[in-house]
Amino acid sequence: MNCAVCIAQVTNPETPAAAFSIDLKARRAIPAKDRPLVINDYDQVAVEAALKIKEAKGGKVTIFSLGAPSVTVAIKHCLSMGADEGILLSDERFQAEDRALVAYALAMAIRKAGNVDLILCGRQEGDWDAGQVGLGIAEILNIPSVNPVRKIEVDDGRLVVERIVDDGYELITLPLPALIGVSNEIGPARYPTMKGIMTAARKSVDVWTADDIGIAPSRLDPSSAKVNMLDLFIPMRERVCEFIEGETPEEAGANLRLRLRKEKIV
């Protein structure tokens, strides 16, 4: 049972709004000084899910990511958690905001690597996405997908998964190969062990360019993107909070009640 896991390096989602800024010209966020880029939360959970499957069913776990050479650090982290191999798609011609190109490149890389039974990714990514890359990969590779999933079981060559829906969950079965978008309910990602870190240190991360995975130069031309970003801006918040005071917190609590009553809110 071989798993491929797609991960992305993103701006730290805990960055407070006050420390958040954007590069208007490049149309992307400037990472705050004390908040280095991190692996997308859900993607770490997807790695965890893959490692659990490997422990139960054997096989190997390969990490795929598209990004700058610095993403190697993120892939190495996954290797130190226990993943077997890492492949970085890095090429100056990749435009990360063209989500369809990202999905296409990852799909082509997974196809090239071959011998993958299950593709896992996070249910969504914190920067640009709302979950289209994973489903896009499934569509390009013409395999079934389920997203977002909170439990995965492998049973006799099929998957049985729990898909989260608005008022509960759906128990779904599907054949392999397949793609699953993993949600955090599956359980927290493990921390690397010292042994894991040392093993990962000896491994190298393969770097593949667009040419290596057979993407035509025409598809890399920005004009071939179907969706273009016209603008990126920080929305204005003009609201001023009215702070309710009191000699003690108790008094402030009582005053809050009086104030809300005066406004006829409660």
Binding site: W128, D166, M229, F233, I234
Partner: protein, 331 residues
């Protein structure tokens, strides 16, 4: 029907009722269709779809309703749904196809877009027609809501999903008329790879979060399940429901389905009370549409105060009981 594209929205319904997100989506589609001077269609998928649902879609603002009725569409199965929609879109060639950002929309929209070889923007909060290019400008929050991006799709159909509760539905008008067209889905069983074994409801007792007029929401600072029991008391008193940010759900103080935020539920109550939560952008995305926002937090710099109308800086364990007592004394 006019031969120029048109706008198509993908409707949802359950238990014989049109979903409220679908009425909102019809309102969004109506505005776009009017701006383009085109027709607005809605599609309803299901098995033995009640004719009243189609009429309701027209009363809500649609000009034409396509009903795709097939036993394989009785539950949401992505392969069946996407195959049926693909046929409809290829046949009717709309300029714009819209979904709500729901369990179904967030799953079906990307697959349909890739199958049709077009672009899609998910989780939009605003859609508008550019008067010059006549293309749809799609605004969506990025970087967890810290920034907004505006996109335009250069291929047809232009596709987007719309975040629930970003628009108000149109006034229901029974005088509106329109065409109801049965469209053959022609779905074959072989196309369906994912199979539903069963659907399990996990609703909390009491008022449903999305429908609640008052939402009391707790964060990591609540400290444990005992603290949430006190929020429950307050919610009962205010006839509201209890929600949480992501950490209490992850730690297990409250069930996961209480989560309000980008990856949880989207609420827009009359009164939202945020207790001991910082106000991460991921959470704000799920509640910023609330009418009156009250925040209680020890930290005066907590981000939630940037969105709150009323705030109290202090330990909630001291503030809330006094607030609660005052409510009881003076209902």
């Amino acid at each position: 029907m006019r031969d120029d594209g048109g706008v198509l929205i993908c409707g949802e319904h359950s238990e014989g009722k049109l979903a409220s997100v679908t009425r909102e989506l019809i309102a969004v589609g109506r505005r776009l269709a009017d701006a383009l001077d085109q027709e607005l269609s809605a599609v309803l998928l299901g098995s033995q779809v009640d004719a009243q649902l189609a009429r309701e879609s027209i009363y809500s603002g649609a000009d034409t309703v396509y009903v795709i009725d097939d036993p394989l569409l009785s539950e949401y199965l992505p392969d069946a749904c996407v195959a049926a929609l693909e046929r409809l879109v290829r046949d009717t060639k709309p300029d714009i196809v819209l979904f709500a950002q729901t369990s179904m929309g967030r799953d079906a929209a990307p697959r349909l877009a890739y199958r049709l070889d077009t672009g899609v923007t998910l989780d939009c909060v605003e859609l508008a027609i550019d008067p010059e290019t006549r293309l749809m400008r799609q605004t969506k929050p990025v970087y967890g809501g810290n920034a907004h991006a505006i996109y335009v799709c250069r291929s047809k159909p232009q596709m987007a999903s719309v975040r629930p509760k970003t628009t108000t539905a149109l006034e229901r008008d029974e005088a509106r008329t329109g065409a109801i067209i049965q469209f053959g889905g022609a779905i074959c069983t072989a196309e369906i790879r994912t199979k539903l074994i069963r659907r399990v409801k996990e609703e909390m007792a009491g008022v449903k979060l999305e429908d609640a007029d008052v939402v009391v929401c707790g964060g990591r600072g609540i400290g444990g399940p005992e603290g949430f029991a006190r929020l429950e008391e307050l919610a009962r008193l205010l006839k509201g429901a209890v929600g949480a940010t992501r950490p209490p759900c992850e730690i297990g103080w409250v069930p996961a389905h209480c989560q309000i935020g980008l990856t949880g539920r989207i609420v827009s109550p009359t009164l939202y009370v945020g207790v001991a939560l910082s106000g991460s952008s991921q959470h704000l995305a799920g509640m910023s549409g609330s009418k009156h926002i009250v925040a209680i937090n020890k930290d005066p710099d907590a981000n939630i105060f940037s969105l709150a109308h009323f705030g109290v800086v202090g330990d909630y364990q001291k503030v809330l009981p006094a607030f609660f007592q005052k409510c009881k004394e003076d209902p």
